[in-house]
Symmetry: C2
Subunit: 137 residues, 2 copies
Amino acid sequence: MSSTHTHSKKNQSLTKNQRIVLDLLQNSGEPLKAYFILDSLKKEGLNSPLQVYRALDKLVELGKIHKIESINSFIICNNSNCASNTAFTICERCGKVKEIKNKYLKDSVSDLVKDNQLEITRYNLEFYVLCKSCKIN
Amino acid sequence: MSSTHTHSKKNQSLTKNQRIVLDLLQNSGEPLKAYFILDSLKKEGLNSPLQVYRALDKLVELGKIHKIESINSFIICNNSNCASNTAFTICERCGKVKEIKNKYLKDSVSDLVKDNQLEITRYNLEFYVLCKSCKIN
DNA sequence: ACCTCTAATGTTATACTATTACATATGTAA
DNA sequence: TTACATATGTAATAGTATAACATTAGAGGT
Ligand SMILES: [Zn+2]
Ligand SMILES: [Zn+2]
Ligand SMILES: [Zn+2]
Ligand SMILES: [Zn+2]
């Protein structure tokens, strides 16, 4: 079973608990809270908070999901290579969260970092907005 | 006692609880947790979490302190006019937090926002670093 | 196959963070 | 004064996360 390529490691190495938590977040697409995940996955055999938190921790570490600290929630990564750099917009009215595509963001952040003489290892940027539907209503 | 000028309102309007919580954060200069604040201020007459949280909420609203979400802690504002825009460096090793002076940051953020076509109402930026003393050791 | 080591699991209990609810008091403005 | 908004005090409870310990599953080397 070690005929695999290097790049497949990350996908294959997910354990059962990690996989079902990731699937839930993937299918949801929006931020979910740990205890909501727990309730949702009772039927899958997750019985204790720790089982959820351990899976979440690992998935965060792998960069497959992100934690949005201000709402104690977890969301599937919407990019392919965030590493541990994250950037979100959060609607101030309805709480809707979107991960900002880091394709273009990177250069902007680099400039900002350079301009302010920071030596950073990673970053987390939270931009509060009024989402489209909230702007209308 | 209402002979005051308009601009002094914000300072004078602090209530007793708000004042003693603010003083503690001011004197500390580093991020403090709500229950630590509670313990520290037992002798000042604060007996319940709610008394602390209410003071903290108000001080955050006034922009006098900021909450650092990722560590559930509160820190005195190091700028004069953050409004609700915040930017911190956080040491990945020892957890030391510093607020970034927003004097220069503002333009950089404006550029970033413009480049990424965001319409934001405010922001919170967290830059993870290795602080000087951690870099040495 | 066997041993070894590391990572993950299962379970219980507990720690930490924050809010609800309700009664009371205080300050401010008409 | 009356009315209103804001702040307080207190108790109970909700929500978030980790410690501790025993057990199991996988990966790698021999
Ligand atoms: Zn991502
Ligand atoms: Zn919205
Ligand atoms: Zn500030
Ligand atoms: Zn440090």
